[in-house]
């Protein structure tokens, strides 16, 4: 179903008696007027009927896509709850019209139903919005006949007082038809000075013959924009009355089809606009607010950083500087001292590195892991919880309290906007950093360990750092400026060996020669850990491990049982943990099945050897024993071992992905290794060992296999390493070479020949 959901628009607070109420009638009239107006647009691009031969086989072709944005603003004073403050009424209208040729059933199915938010009303203390959406739909038959759909034949799928969602089934739509439709969204709002982000997307999953945008915004608006990745610039002019007129045109955009290793923000064309009512007055400069009528092409790479500094200054003021805020961090430091004492060390004598780690683990233990009966289900499923960037600031506050003189390092997201192309503070990442030990800290989940760097931040250069050494200033705006923006450190990049999966597999053949017995030890490092930890590691196991690490005098469960307030529910806790434990076996089985993609049976002796949640023992290691099908073929008295299948179905770069002009953005450098020890059954010899050896190696990575025989054991070491997280497009073929060598090796076989 085609879904166009707009943020807001015009009013009709009448839906409870929608059928024939005055407002319903008014809506229909408005809707009809809107259709008349839109269909009357004289744009020859909408009338194109000839599809270029090169697109003839496409599922659909967007003949024309046009957006009209009209923002009219008249200033007025609105009554504010507390009787002060100015607000501005806004009327915004956005019309998106698209003419699309539908060439197959898949395209018909996609456009068969249109879904939209017909009416939305948001209200609150500081403002309210009313939004209505009108639609128009016409079908142009191959013989040129135009059939208009009764777009008021909608059905409501949500009918709440503040929100109406609607659907329209498109009648008489057939392969070969051209669909000409629009969504017009009218928004009536009383708003503050907030900035609205508006994007023009210049790529699609279908060829676009003509893309255009026309905006008319009243002179009180201010616009900041950037064009990304060869998107055209805005064509800006002003009418005599000061209205800002913006146009964008781009013709013949081929469809964008590859999603493999692509960074949208860095590689695909689009234009970002920040639209807000401009403001000229006291504090506008320090608040980073543009003046009315300004249309600014953002070239200042400091803009986003400065916004980040302002936001974090405020957070620093409210979360640390103001009275009593710091006490919580002092409490945490005291707790860390106590934990250190439990471990038999004097906190004061610890190095900065050791102190930072102790503080980090104490914070995690006390803030994130702490048990609560009232959030039992949340705790059991805590592995799936993701924490936002604000927790990195908490780490900064904690380190600052402890006198470690930390900074906040602000850097680009390697899959997001480059720092030089950023526009908003939220475009950038923030990490805690201690310069004296040159170490980064962040917490995104309970498995994170200190001194590791999030994937997104890896390799960032041109970073900035905030140290918040200023005292709060007297002026109200002072809290927006509590730090200097200094040059920050470069963020290191991890290597393929840092993010590894090493599968140690001891294989033997079952007595009926139909299955392979597997003794598996899997070691995951770095960025490879989290996805598996969250499935296999239990909250109870984590707590028991942490209790031991902190040298607590009791066990986790005993502590609950002994505490006055909690012992009454200890049975419930035990039951809940027992149930989680019972399910762990299924999780191990599922993990093996999904990874090896073979039938897995008789799972036993499974467990976690190391949870990998401390920097002193950072690897996540788990083991299991099971039987695996799908690897053996009988050949008379002999056995063929399809050893290549031990990789499961290795990743393959498909034929249609081979042609590539875009640079390659991979998540991170990584490696997968299998260290296989195959026991040759008694009475058999192994043949074909030499043929198992492979080596494809280049500057982007490698796939190698080394096979040897020692006594009755065949040892095979399979190694696939993606050496970098980024490659230029010209190196893509080199990636293909080793990736597809790994896929081909899936056919590798070994013969066990009966003596």
């Amino acid at each position: 179903m085609k879904q166009l959901v707009f943020s807001a628009v015009l009013c009709f607070a009448f839906f409870s008696s929608f059928a024939q109420s005055k407002k319903a009638i008014a809506y229909r009239k408005e809707s009809e007027d809107m259709r008349k107006s839109v269909w009357a647009w004289e744009n020859p691009k909408f009338k194109v009927r000839d599809i270029p031969q090169k697109y003839a086989n496409a599922s659909k072709i967007i003949i024309a896509h046009h957006t009209e944005l009209i923002a009219d603003s008249k200033s007025s004073i609105a009554f504010y709850g507390l009787g002060f403050g100015a607000k501005f009424k806004q009327d915004l209208t956005e019309i998106v019209r698209e003419v699309v040729k539908l060439n197959d059933k898949s395209a018909i199915a996609e456009y068969s139903e249109l879904s939209f938010t017909q009416f939305e009303k948001r209200s609150g203390f500081y403002g309210s919005d009313k939004t209505s959406t009108y639609i128009g739909v016409r079908i142009i038959k191959p013989n040129g006949v135009i059939k208009e759909v009764n777009a008021d034949d909608i059905v409501l799928t949500k009918d709440a007082a503040n929100e109406k969602q609607a659907k329209l089934a498109i009648p008489d739509l057939e392969v070969g038809d051209i669909l000409d439709y629009f969504f017009a969204t009218a928004r009536n709002t009383i708003d503050d000075m907030s900035t609205k982000q508006y994007n023009l997307i210049l790529f699609a999953d279908a060829p676009v013959l003509s893309y255009s945008f026309h905006g008319q915004l009243a002179k009180k608006y201010a616009i900041e924009y950037r064009s990304y990745n060869n998107a055209p610039e805005l064509n800006v002019r002003k009418n005599d009355d000061g209205t800002i007129v913006i146009d964008v045109v781009k013709n013949d955009i081929p469809s964008f089809e590859t999603s493999l290793w692509v960074s949208v923000s860095r590689q695909l064309p689009f234009i970002r606009m920040n639209i807000a009512q401009g403001f000229k007055g006291i504090g506008s400069e320090s608040l980073g607010i543009s003046k009315p009528g300004e249309v600014i092409k953002v070239t200042n790479e400091r803009m986003a950083i400065e916004e980040k500094a302002r936001t974090y200054s405020l957070d620093y003021y409210n979360g640390y500087l103001i009275r009593n805020a710091k006490k919580e961090y002092e409490r945490l430091e005291d707790l860390a001292k106590q934990k250190a004492k439990q471990k038999g060390v004097n906190y004061e004598l610890l190095s900065n590195e050791e102190k930072a780690a102790m503080l980090y683990y104490t914070f995690r233990f006390d803030w994130l892991l702490k048990f609560s009966i009232y959030r039992l289900a949340d705790k059991i499923n805590i592995g799936y919880r993701e924490y936002d960037e604000g927790y990195n600031l908490v780490l900064f506050f904690l380190f600052k309290t402890a006198g470690l003189n930390p900074d906040v390092v602000v850097c680009e997201d390697r899959m997001g906007y480059r720092v030089s192309e950023s526009m908003n503070g939220t475009d950038l990442l923030a990490l805690a950093y201690i310069p004296s030990i040159k170490s980064f800290f962040s917490v995104r989940n309970i498995f994170d360990v200190p001194f590791t760097i999030p994937v997104a931040a890896e390799g960032a250069q041109n970073t900035s750092s905030f140290s918040f050494e200023h005292r709060a200033k007297d002026k109200p705006a002072g809290v927006n400026n509590l730090t200097e923006i200094k040059t920050g450190p470069d963020v290191p990049v991890s290597k393929s060996s840092n993010n590894s999966r090493v599968e140690k597999l001891r294989l033997s053949i079952t007595s009926d020669q139909s299955l392979v017995s597997v003794k598996r030890t899997c070691t995951l490092k770095g960025h490879n850990k989290h996805a598996v930890q969250e499935k296999l590691l239990l909250y109870e196991d984590i707590m028991n491990y942490e209790f031991k690490e902190f040298n607590e005098s009791t066990t986790f469960l005993d502590e609950i049982a002994d505490e006055k307030g909690s012992k009454k529910y200890i049975e419930e806790v035990k039951n809940a943990f027992a149930e989680a434990k019972k399910k762990q076996k299924d999780a191990f089985l599922k993990d093996a099945k999904n990874y090896f993609e073979q039938e897995i049976t008789n799972m036993k002796d499974f467990g976690i050897d190391n949870p990998g949640i401390r920097h002193t023992a950072p690897d996540f290691i788990y083991r299991s024993t099971f039987e695996m099908g799908g690897l053996l073929k009988k050949a008379g008295n002999n056995i063929i071992v399809e050893i290549g299948k031990i990789q499961g179905t290795p990743f393959v770069i498909k034929e249609e992905q081979l042609k590539r002009d875009l640079d390659v953005y991979m998540p991170f450098a990584r490696s997968i290794e299998y260290h296989v020890e195959l026991e040759i059954p008694e009475g058999y010899t192994a043949e074909g060992i030499a043929a198992l050896n492979t080596k494809v190696e280049n500057e982007t990575g490698f796939f190698t296999t080394e096979a040897t025989q020692n006594g009755n054991t065949v040892s095979i070491k399979i190694r696939k390493h993606y050496l970098h997280n980024f490659e230029s497009a010209k190196n893509f073929e080199k990636i293909v070479a080793f990736v597809n060598a790994s896929a081909e090796w899936a056919n590798a076989k070994l013969l066990l020949k009966k003596k």
Binding site: N57, A58, S59, N103, D104, K105, S106, A107, A109, S112, E113, V155, L156, T157, K158, D159, K167, A169, P171, D172, L173, E174, I373, L376, A377, I380, N381, S514, Y569, E571, E572, V573, N575, A576, E579, K582, E599, G629, G630, L632, K633, K634, A635, G636, N638, I640, T649, V652, K654, E655, E656, E687, G688, N740, A743, E744, N747, K749, L751, K753
Partner: protein
């Protein structure tokens, strides 16, 4: 056609509780469930209504948790009151949410859902929900299921039937649940009471029969009522059900004149009646999209034929009605047919809206119906989908009706035949392949293909044919009858199958069957309790002729297997002729249901089939 509401409500409850069970197993149970249904006199518009009151007391057995509570309603079945008590208190702050309920495959329906989360504050504590509902029309008061997504310790279900209401109650699957039924008289009403203890939670299993096949429940058959002076007749027999359907049909408002023009255009130049039916059937399959509206009576009454024709979309009723009117417009005898798909256990011996959930069309050829189901988008004329095979159908016949059974098709209807001619070239195999699909195998493939954008279809098809193997290189792909469902779908291509041959010393080892149909298709007997329903009866034929290099002879061929069971057979064998090997396998599924008693045998046979696939041909150099 509308799937009956109570049925959906039960399924939804089971789905949601199943989701909860993923983390909670047997933690939640219903200590006590008391449910009553009382017929009362209504208004002029709804002269007889049923008042339902359902009180459930939830507890947790292991640890405190939240219980998702959901209740469906619509314009016929309304929720009048929701009473929630946590630990006996009404001061809990829980506010039920009400929303439209979106069901997969239905564009719009009047179904809404009332839902909220009910906390159970600790082991042994109880939280209680009491719902009061009104069912405005006895026709819609059909089945009452006794199971829920949680185990029920104690349950009482009562029906209060006044003397002015006539009904029958049919009991289903009471067997192993020790459900005690009693009938008594109270204040002039007949009270049917069903008492039961320790009802296990409903367990949902994939590819299983519908709920009515195994869940304990009753079917309430409302025959008539006379609340005041005027008598109301519901479904005394199937005759009254047919008459009600006919009354809806009569008010459709079909305009045959408009439809006729299109029908004549489609069959222009064709004189043979059967050819005309084929043409019109395929036109509806191709041109009418499935979009279902199920609001109020639209769940039962077809949309006007001319409207479906104009809109080019409709649901099963709309398509069946359009087909009927189109065929009638050109003087062919076509009938609307009401039918319950295989999912429903009932037939019309228990007249009820729960009996059917689908509508098709029948063309009467020489007095015998030929069934046309245009919702099956790629099935050929005369082919019948598994889901309606053997089902009783209520066929229009003027003021009367016909009750017929849709024929059960042979497995041969769905035959897929693949033939390969291969030669060995070093480590590779090269050759030509033809593959022909019929019936539901053809429909399955065409459905999958047309979901894919046309510029991506060839690649997707190649990957499907290659079973995802990158070394299975396909060229000269030729597709026949892609758009003619009345003929077999045929795909031919050349193949270069790289590294299919493994050479060790003087011997070459290879597997030439990479389809390995039904390999490892075992049923998990530890977890499964319900019959397994395969998608359709099947016949998979695979023949390969492998020409041997002149310097090789066969040293090992797998032993043939020939398993014959009442519901299926597996045959696979290699034969060695001069200079070549012939392979033939045939999987026959002539009963799409595997019942639990046969799981063990099925697994044994699948193991044997898998073991066969896991053997290699061995060729050796001539001495």
């Amino acid at each position: 056609m509308r799937v009956h509401f109570l049925f959906v409500a039960c399924l939804l409850m089971f789905q949601l509780s199943a989701a909860a069970q993923e983390t909670e197993d047997d933690n939640i149970s219903i200590v006590k469930s008391i449910r009553s249904f009382r017929f009362v006199k209504g208004t002029v518009d709804n002269p007889v209504v049923i008042k339902e009151e359902h009180s459930r007391m939830f507890t947790c057995n292991k640890y405190r948790t939240d219980v998702p509570v959901v209740e469906l309603f619509n314009i016929i079945e309304t929720i009048d009151e929701v009473d929630i008590r946590v630990d006996g208190s009404k001061r809990h702050g829980i506010v039920p949410a009400y929303e439209y309920y979106n069901r997969d495959g239905i564009f719009y329906s009047d179904e809404q859902v009332c839902y909220f989360t009910l906390p159970v504050s600790k082991i042994g504590n109880k939280s209680e929900v009491t719902l009061k509902k009104t069912i405005k029309d006895p026709r819609y008061f059909t089945n009452i299921f006794f199971t829920e997504g949680y185990a029920i310790n104690e349950q009482e279900i009562k029906l209060y039937v006044p003397a002015w209401v006539s009904l029958d109650i049919k009991e289903y699957h009471f067997g192993k649940y020790n459900i005690r039924k009693s009938v008594s008289q109270e204040s002039g009403e007949t009270v049917y009471t069903f008492l039961m203890n320790n009802i296990p939670k409903f367990k949902q299993e994939s590819s299983a029969p519908g709920l009515t096949y195994y869940a304990p429940h009753i079917l309430v058959l409302c025959k008539s009522a006379q609340p005041k002076d005027v008598p109301y007749t519901y479904f005394k027999t199937v005759k009254e059900q047919y008459e009600w359907y006919q009354s809806l049909v009569k008010t459709i408002g079909d305009d045959e004149k408009i439809v006729k023009e299109k029908a004549e255009e489609i069959v222009k130049g064709i004189s043979n009646d059967e050819e005309k039916v084929k043409k019109i059937f395929q036109w509806v399959q191709d041109n009418i999209r499935y979009i279902a509206f199920e609001n109020g009576i639209a769940g039962f009454k077809p949309e006007k034929a001319q409207e479906v024709l104009r809109k080019k979309y409709g649901d099963c009723k709309g398509m069946a009605n359009l087909l009927t009117v189109m065929l009638r417009s050109i003087k062919l005898d076509a009938r609307r047919c009401w039918i319950g798909t295989k999912h429903i256990a009932y037939d019309y011996s228990t007249p009820s809206l729960s009996v059917d959930n689908h509508m098709i069309c029948a063309w009467m050829k020489d007095g015998k119906p030929v069934y046309l189901d245009a919702t099956e988008k790629y099935i050929g004329f005369g082919e019948i989908a598994e889901r309606i095979q053997g089902r009783q159908t209520l066929i229009e016949n003027g003021n009367q009706y016909l009750l017929e059974k849709v024929p059960v098709a042979s497995y041969l209807q769905n035959t897929s035949t693949e033939k390969r001619k291969l030669v060995i070239e070093g480590n590779n195999l090269r050759g030509h392949i033809t593959h022909v699909w019929k019936g539901e195998n053809k429909e399955w493939l065409l459905n999958a293909l047309t979901d894919i954008k046309q510029d991506k279809q060839e690649n997707a098809l190649k990957q499907f044919l290659a079973e995802g193997e990158s070394g299975f290189e396909i060229s000269n792909l030729k597709i026949t009858n892609l758009a003619d469902y009345n003929n077999d779908l045929k795909i031919e291509y050349d193949v270069l199958w790289k590294n299919a041959v493994s050479v060790f010393d003087k011997d070459a080892y290879l597997s030439i069957d990479n389809r390995v149909n039904f390999k490892d298709f075992k049923i998990d007997t530890d977890k499964r309790t319900l019959p397994y329903w395969l998608q359709f009866k099947n016949n998979l034929v695979f023949e390969i002729e492998l020409v041997l290099p002149s310097d090789k002879v066969v040293s090992e061929l797998p032993e043939k297997i020939n398993i014959k069971q009442p519901g299926y057979s597996f045959y696979a064998a290699y034969t060695n002729e001069a200079g070549k090997i012939n392979y033939r396998s045939e999987i026959i599924i002539n009963n799409a249901e595997i019942v639990p008693e046969n799981f063990s045998q099925w697994n044994k046979d699948i193991k044997q089939l898998t073991d066969f696939y896991d053997q290699q041909l061995v060729l050796t150099s001539k001495k």
